[in-house]
Structure formats: C-alpha cells, structure tokens
C-alpha cells in the first residue's frame, strides 16, 4: 500500500523528466536542420539552379582509424559527385546535401551511425561505407530499414549470401572474381612458360581471403600445383617467417590477398630480404596505392607486379573526363581508386532516382537497379539478384615505375606485359 502511495507521489516527477527528455529531442532536431548546411553546397554555374527542399543523402565513412586513407578518398569522391550534381541542376531539380559521419573504422560505430542517419537525421537516401568489414553490418541496418544501399567498396562474398534486396555493390566484380583476368592470362601462357607451382597467402579478412582463394581455385583447376597456402591475421607486421617458408618452396607464382597497404608492402619487403623473387607476383589491392606503394618498396622493385583495379584515370569510360576535371580542380591531384569507386556508387544511386523519378519509394529504386544497367566512370555495371555485380576487373601491372592497364585489351594502356618478373634489386 505504502509503495503505491509513493509511486503515485512520484508520477509528476517522472512526467517532468520525460517531458524534459522530449524537449531535448526536439531541440536537437532543429539543430540538425541548421547544421547540415555546414556541408558545402556552393558552386554555381552549370545548369539550372536547383530549388526546393534539399534531398539529404547519408553515409558513414572510416575517416579515422585503420581505413582512414581509403575512407578519406571515398569522401572526396562523394563530395565531387555532390558538387557536380548541384551544379548541373540538382537531383530531380532539388539540391543535394550530404551528411557524412565518421565510423572510426569501428563496426559497432558504423551500426550506430547508420541508425542515427535513418532515425535521427531522417535522410532520404543512403550511400555505403568503405571495406567489407564495415559494409556487412551497415548494409544490414539499411536492409532492415528497407533503404537502397549502394556501397563503393566491399566485394566480400559474405556481403551477397544473405539474400539482401536493397544492397548493390558499385564495382565490377566480387572478391573471388577479383583476379579472373590474371588467372586466365597465367593459364593461357604457352607450355614451358606456364608456371607449375604457386604459393598463396591472404589476410584473414572478408576481402583478402576470398581473393586468394579465388585465384587458387582457378589455377588449381588449370593444373598449377599449390605448394603453400596460409592465412595471416590482418594486423601481422612481421612477414619474415612467411617469406622464408614460401622461399623454401620455390613457387613460380606468388599471390597475396592483402587487406590494405601495409601487409602487401611488408610481404614484398620480407621477400626482398629473403632474396626470393617469383616468376609472377600478384597482390590484391596493395599496388593500387600508387606512390605510397612504390615509395614503400622502392620503385625498382615494383616492376612486373600484377594487381586488379576497378578504375584507371585514363579510362575512356562515360563521364570520366568530367569527373577528372572536377576532381583535379577541387583537390589539385589525380583521384585515388577509392575516390572513383565512391563517385561511381553515387552515380548508380543517381541513375536509379532519375529513372524512377522519385525518392519516396525505395522498393521501386531497388527494383529498377535489379532490372537495368548503369553507365559509370568504372564502365557499365549491372547486378544479379543478390546485388553482386556481373562484370570483370581490369588487370594492371607496374611497368617502368608506372601503373598500366594490361588487360582486357580494349581498355589496355600498355601493349606489353612484363613476364617473367625481374628479380628484386634491393639486395
């Protein structure tokens, strides 16, 4: 009885508390509207002035933490796209605003970020984050909210085995098919030149491991014997043991499914120290880090190393010239691959919105994307029912200190392929 009395006595206090909380919420919402303007929407020139209520697009990117470098590149891609769209009259005639949060390369934060974007900021459209590791949890948030989720970087097969309908990957192929052209080329070499043994090493990472596994499967099917195959933790810094164990097997091909810049660099460094140079060397993404890569291992050691890329600045793809111009004007340098991928993701979203003619029906947007293909600066992209793209990556190779596309022939920037790889010169 006494308890009931004091519970009753308490009610006013409670209501006051809740009311205060409610007010706090309202204040905050007003705050949002004001500060989204912080994003730069000036630009002028170009087509007609966009007008009306802005379309707000939300994304979270790893601007700090382990993936800070690609995260920053992706942000530039998104920003360049936003400015180009606004200059050209906006999306559906309305100005575009972006809210980009920082998930600090942390999976828990990326989930809170996308929840906050959808529920607190009330964004109209979503764009994806960088890396499979972060896109896997983030895409689940979008799927639950039934919002189209186009992501620029995250080709792990684990992304696409969940039956998601609103997920689209804006590159040419998933991780197991990253090196399709490399495997085909290796197996097409004439008898005698064709390698007979291969070593595979991959980061324990949703992207790196499937890349190496994909090459291994393709080369084994072509009769190349596997002499070494190991997974290492992504934070591994000491590759001496791995390099010496690989060298002991004398493989013709070494393929690495690397997670980022450093594990790729460290393997090369350790191989140079161990003095073992394979006939063909493939690394999943490390060599695409341009100068950072060649500075780290020494430009003379880059000669002949293969990798797969989604984008090359000289590609004659639709819209690439305009993108390059805008990007160079804004940042005074060439775009990194990750910036181009982010730009392409935004292009995909843009195409769907313009084709459907409205942003109100997310289901219509995803249906359109499943049924059509989109021209981007990475080339034409289309998707299967899981959101996995159906095209092929470009095969690139370092030649004379430059990155060249060697295959497919119609996109090639160099007509020679360095083979076999010359020995290291660091020793």
């Amino acid at each position: 009885m006494r308890r009931i009395v004091w519970l009753l006595a308490l009610l006013p206090v409670l209501l006051a508390l809740v009311f205060a909380a409610g007010c706090g919420g309202d204040d905050d919402d007003e705050g949002d509207a004001a500060d989204t303007e912080a994003t730069d929407t000036s630009g002028g020139g170009g087509g007609g002035e966009p007008s009306g209520e802005p379309i707000v697009i939300g994304a979270s990117l790893p601007l700090t933490g382990d993936f800070a470098e690609p995260g920053e590149a992706a942000r530039r891609g998104y920003e360049v796209w936003m400015e180009m769209v606004n200059e050209a009259g906006g999306l559906l005639g309305r100005p575009v605003e972006m809210i980009i949060k920082d998930d600090q390369s942390d999976q828990n934060l990326v989930v809170t970020d996308y929840n906050a974007l959808i529920e607190q900021d009330g964004v109209d459209l979503l764009l994806g984050t960088f890396s499979s590791l972060l896109n896997i949890p983030a895409s689940a948030v979008a799927e639950r909210a039934q919002m189209v989720y186009v992501e620029p970087a995250g080709g792990s097969p684990d992304m696409f085995n969940r039956g998601f309908e609103y997920l689209f990957f804006a590159q040419q192929a998933t991780a197991p098919h990253q090196a399709d052209l490399f495997s085909e080329w290796v197996l097409s070499l004439p008898e005698g030149e064709r390698p007979t043994t291969a070593a595979y090493v991959a980061a324990d990472d949703p992207f790196g491991a499937p890349v190496a596994a994909g090459i291994q499967e393709q080369l084994e099917a072509g009769g190349v014997e596997t002499v070494y195959s190991e997974i290492y933790p992504p934070e591994t810094v000491n590759f001496d043991a791995i390099a010496s164990a690989m060298a002991a097997e004398q493989p013709d091909v070494i393929a690495q499914g690397s997670a980022g810049l450093q594990d790729g660099v460290n393997l090369i460094t350790a191989l140079v120290a161990a003095g073992y140079s394979p006939q063909q060397m493939f690394q999943a993404s490390t060599p695409s880090f341009a100068d950072q890569y060649s500075d780290a291992i020494g430009v003379e050691n880059t000669e002949g190393i293969f990798y797969a890329v989604s984008y090359h600045v000289e590609s004659p793809t639709p819209g690439n010239a305009e993108f390059l111009e805008a990007y160079r004007a804004k940042f005074d340098e060439d775009p990194a691959e990750d910036a181009a991928d982010a730009f392409a993701a935004a292009e995909v979203l843009q195409a769907a919105v313009e084709a459907v003619g409205s942003i109100d029906d997310q289901a219509a947007l995803k249906d359109w994307l499943h049924a059509n293909s989109v021209d981007t600066i990475l080339g034409t992209l289309s998707w299967d029912e899981t959101g996995a793209p159906e095209q092929a990556f470009l095969l690139a190779q370092w030649q004379n200190g430059d990155e060249e596309i060697v295959l497919p022939e119609d996109a090639a920037t160099s007509d020679t392929i360095v083979n076999p790889k010359p020995p290291w010169s660091g020793r």
């Binding site: 043991a241 810049l261 020494g298 660091g426």
Partner: protein
C-alpha cells in the same frame, strides 16, 4: 634443415629486441609492484618520435636511440610524478586500470599528432640482408639486435655496479629495510620508473625500423612483453632476456611450421600456462599470490 636454422636465427634476432623492450616492464614491476600496461604505448611513442626525426632531419633511426632514450626518461619521470606515484601500494588492479587509461591517452595523442595510419622508418638498409650460405640475416635486425644487447648490457651494469642499482635492488628486496639504511623509496621508485620507460626509447627506435606501427599497435606489444616477463619470471632481468629469446623463437616457429594465424596466440598461451603451472616463471620469484590450498 636450412629452413629450421633460418627460422631459429630469425627468432633469436627477434628475441634480442624483445628482451630490451621487456626489460623496462620487468624492472618497474620488480621494484614497484606495478604492471605498467602503458609500456606498449610508450614503445610506440618512441617509435613515432624516431620516425618523425628520421622523416624531418634524415637522422638514422637507429642513431635516434640517443635522442629517444633521454626523452623517454623524462616522459617516464613525468608520468611517475603526476600519476603512478599516487597509486603505489594500492591493490594491483588499481595500477593496471590506471596505466591502461594512460595507454589509451597516449594512443589518442599519437593518433592526433601522427594520424592513425601505419608508419615505418625505412633507411636504405632496411630491406637489405647479409647472407651466410643459405641463411640470410636482415641488416636492420642484426643492427637492432646488437644495439639492444648493448643497451641491456649498460642497464645490467647500472643495476650491478652503481649506487642507484644497489638502491633499486635493496628496495625491490625489502622496502622497509631499504628505508632504514637511508634509501628513500620514493626517489628510487621515480628513477626506476624513469629508467624503465627510458628503455622503451631505445627499444622503440629499433622497432620503428623493424616493423610498421600505428598508435593501436601497442596492444600487440604489451601482450608480447607481458608474456615475456611472465615466462622469464616477473621482476627478473635475466629472466626477461631468456623469456624474450624463447618467445621470439616460439613465434617464428609457430608462424613457419604451424600457421601465421596462431602466432599471435603464442604470448597469451604462454601467459596462461606459465601463471597456472609455474607462477614464478623460469627465473623469478613467485608472482602468484596463491589462495591457500
């Protein structure tokens, strides 16, 4: 056979550097009964300072030892006077939690100053090797190991010969009797902590050449050096050296013959097994305060 010898050599060279990195932790524990969890972060801090010097002035990272060691000595003194001093004699968990907080702060500061991306000092010899028959020795590792041994020798001489060394040993054996013979435990503790942190200066400079690092790398280092001193016997300097060599070899052996995946497990597995089966480690006094029966 060649591969076995190669693996052993790699492990021993690694172990030499580990020994230096672990020496400060074991020294601080021996005298103050404090596990300095921030030791890993301090190693990385020294590595960043080395990198910055090399990057700005071109100073050879291994010569950076002469700058980082005194710098880290001062850092250690500062940490002792502002924080660690106040929690001496409190329950062990207190010092672990406090220094963990310190590690997080240092990690954040490094991230702000140098960004949370991988760094590595790459003087021209960093991926060159000496070869003896079929065995190769990386120059950076050979130089690094040599410097580590040199610093350890100096540390040993300080502890054996000087007044400070005797005072440190007196305090670590028995604090109250040390006070009786005129040794002020607070001064000794301050100097010990500062020397313990100064070792990370030399160690960090060497590590900066050997491995790429980022602010978050300190977890890997603290687990490794904790494993080493638990194995060698907490508080024992010779124990740390033996523990370091064993752990270095165990890591490379695991990476070569089992899988690189399990190599990270080695320090933690060593810690668990040693604390449960032989708590005093190889050469230390008994750390484990056991529950009666």
């Amino acid at each position: 056979m060649t591969q076995l010898i190669q693996t052993l050599v790699l492990g021993l060279l690694l172990g030499g550097v580990y020994a230096l990195l672990a020496s400060g932790l074991t020294l601080i524990f021996g005298v103050m009964d404090v596990i300095n969890v921030a030791q890993g972060a301090l190693i990385i801090l020294a590595a960043f300072i080395t990198w910055a010097l090399w990057n700005e002035t071109g100073l050879d990272p291994l010569l950076g030892v002469f700058v980082t060691t005194p710098a880290m000595f001062l850092v250690g003194l500062g940490i002792y006077l502002t924080t660690v001093r106040w929690i001496q004699g409190k329950p062990p968990s207190t010092s672990v939690i406090l220094t963990f907080g310190l590690a997080l702060v240092i990690e954040g500061v490094m991230g702000m100053v140098w960004t949370a991306t991988l760094h590595r000092a790459t003087p021209e010899y960093f991926n060159q090797s000496f070869t003896i028959g079929d065995i190769y020795l990386r120059k950076a590792q050979v130089y690094g190991c040599a410097i580590a041994i040199g610093v350890l020798a100096i540390l040993y001489v300080i502890l054996r010969v000087t007044w400070l060394g005797r005072a440190i040993r007196a305090v670590s054996a028995n604090m109250s009797s040390a006070r009786l013979v005129g040794v002020d435990p607070t001064t000794v503790a301050a100097l010990t902590f500062a020397i313990g942190v100064a070792t990370t200066g030399a160690g960090g400079s060497i590590a900066a050449v050997l491995y790429p690092f980022l602010p978050g790398s300190h977890y890997a280092w603290i687990s490794r050096i904790l494993g080493i001193i638990v194995l060698g016997g907490m508080g024992s300097l010779p124990g740390a050296v033996v523990g370091a060599l064993l752990l270095g070899v165990a890591e490379t052996m695991t990476a070569t013959y089992i899988s690189p995946q399990w190599a990270t497990m080695v320090p933690w597995a060593v810690i668990m097994l040693v604390l449960l089966l032989r708590p005093q480690g190889l050469m230390g006094h008994k750390l484990r305060e056991d529950v009666a029966l």
